[in-house]
């Protein structure tokens, strides 16, 4: 098992004036976020508010203005930020001959997966899968995993690089209520026991209220951020989510 590091609360990640323009259209404008390690930050907003774009911009997958700094407050110098990313889904259709080992090893190792299975790599993958009680899935085909199983596999993979920041993109779609509860509890334990900050895109306001340390209401820019209670009571929140109810 991996060593459990208690969060120090001393370092933070700052997103300064981040903006994204795609094809002449401004998708995100002047985003400022301050994220502490060991905190769960949830981004909410209507469809098309730019939530996934924000995640991809922080990942460096799309060009953006502004900057992201990672500060270690204890000794002041800036280290390289390591990001773990859990995508919405993987590109596997039925009958794709890719096992969980193949998938993780293709990202994490240079041992060619078509030729052989590296013993060391396999052990390492298994250890990380065990964190989420998914060790038995290592030889299963990725396309045969349930939504919840795939999520746990992807989470363990994201942890393999010991990230400082974990980004999760709408991971709760296609999972039943029990699975959701389990997922939020897992995330909660993660941020408590590992030295990392979490940014999560979520649609499920009920769980957000219960688990989030900080909520960011997004609609092209940050409309409101703060504790779940503050944001949920705000006029901006009512505007975004009440108007959505009317549409429906």
């Amino acid at each position: 098992m991996r060593k459990i590091i208690m969060p120090c609360g001393l370092h933070c990640i700052k997103v300064n004036h981040l903006g994204v323009t795609l094809g002449g259209q401004e998708i995100l404008k002047d985003i400022n976020l301050h994220i502490h390690c060991g905190s769960l930050n949830v981004v909410i907003g209507r469809n098309g508010a730019g939530k996934s774009t924000l995640i991809r911009a922080i990942l460096g997958d799309i060009a953006h203005t502004g900057n992201i700094e990672f500060k270690d407050r204890e000794n002041g110098h800036i280290q390289k930020l390591k990001i773990g990313y859990v995508p919405q889904s993987m590109n596997v259709e039925k009958q794709t001959p890719v096992s969980v080992y193949d998938m993780i090893a293709s990202y994490q190792s240079n041992v060619p997966v078509f030729l052989m299975r590296g013993k060391k790599v396999r052990r390492e993958i298994e250890e990380h899968l065990e964190i989420f009680e998914a060790g038995h899935l290592i030889d299963k085909q990725v396309c045969n995993l349930s939504g919840g199983e795939l999520q746990r596999v992807l989470l363990s993979m994201a942890l393999m690089n010991s990230p400082n920041l974990l980004l999760l993109d709408e991971p709760v779609s296609g999972i039943d209520k029990n699975g959701m509860e389990l997922f939020y509890r897992t995330i909660y334990n993660l941020k408590k026991n590992y030295d990392l900050a979490v940014i999560l895109i979520s649609h499920d306001l009920e769980y957000v209220k219960q688990y989030a340390d900080k909520v960011v209401l997004l609609d092209r820019s940050v409309l409101r951020q703060g504790s779940a209670r503050e944001v949920f009571k705000s006029a901006e929140f009512a505007q975004v989510f009440e108007s959505r109810k009317e549409e429906a």
Binding site: D61, S89, D102, P112, F114
Partner: protein, 270 residues
């Protein structure tokens, strides 16, 4: 009658050697082409051979094989670039380019009623291969193996999720281009022996058959190469005794294997 009597002729020996090099190569490359859903792409590549020859004829190049290879590489890179940029679905874009290029090639080559001179490339003839050309194939096989050892994990990672790969600093734009170039090279070098009409079948069928019954990448590659070599060698022998063109015989065998694995896979491998 000696079972290996067909090997007494030099042309059969060379054809046998060529099959032993081409089929594993195709089995290997096919796995990635099938997984990335690039079957249409490699098909279009095969068709571009005619245009490559036509371009060579127009430019007055003596050795049209060179213009063919160069054109295919340019064509492959262009297809890669365009399918990444255009928002309409990739198969439509590829189809447009493929039809345009084959029409251009046919128009130029048929000018003056001379097309019969080039029609042999449609079916191909493995029995006419020379030792020098076998060496070329061998070098390409080594290159493909090296590429696979070095680049396969990254290519797989990107095909599974590009953004996730990017977050781990796996950038594959040049690897994908290299893969396209390698595919172009392999298709062009072997097209004279296999033929435009069926070369894609040889690339796709063994991998598609292997996919039906494999659960991981090692099984997938093992079966793909096994099916490819098996149908290649058996196809050559059968075509010798039945006096049928070798390429089609191989493809018919590979199709049988595909249907058999499809049946087996849907029954036992759900």
């Amino acid at each position: 009658m000696n079972f290996f009597s067909w090997l007494q002729y030099d042309f059969m020996k060379y054809a046998f050697l060529a099959i032993l090099i081409i089929t594993p190569l195709f089995g290997l490359m096919g796995t990635m082409i099938v997984n990335r859903k690039m079957a249409f792409f490699s098909d279009a590549l095969g068709h571009s051979a005619l245009t490559g020859i036509a371009v060579g004829v127009v430019l007055g190049v003596n050795n049209t094989s060179i213009s063919m290879v160069v054109f295919a590489i340019v064509f492959a890179l262009l297809l890669n670039l365009i399918s990444g940029k255009v928002s309409s679905s990739t198969d439509t874009v590829i189809s447009v380019f493929s039809s345009c290029s084959i029409a251009l090639g046919l128009a130029i080559l048929s000018q003056g009623g001379n097309f019969s001179k080039y029609s042999s490339i449609l079916v191909g003839d493995i029995l006419s291969i020379t030792p020098r050309e076998i060496w070329y194939l061998f070098v390409i096989l080594l290159a493909a193996l090296a590429f696979w050892l070095f680049g396969f994990n990254k290519l797989l990672a990107v095909s599974l999720n590009r953004t996730l790969a990017g977050s781990l600093h796996i950038s594959a734009v040049w690897l994908e281009n290299l893969f396209a170039v390698l595919t172009a090279l392999i298709v062009m070098v072997s097209i004279k022996w296999i033929g435009i009409l069926i070369i894609n079948a040889l690339l796709i069928l063994p991998a598609a058959a292997a996919k039906n019954i494999s659960e991981n990448m090692r099984e997938y590659h093992f079966f793909s190469i096994l099916f490819s070599v098996f149908s290649g060698v058996l196809g050559l022998v059968i075509s010798y005794y039945t006096n049928v063109a070798t390429g089609p015989t191989i493809v018919i065998l590979a199709s049988f294997i595909y249907f058999a694995t499809y049946w087996w896979g849907s029954r036992y491998n759900v």
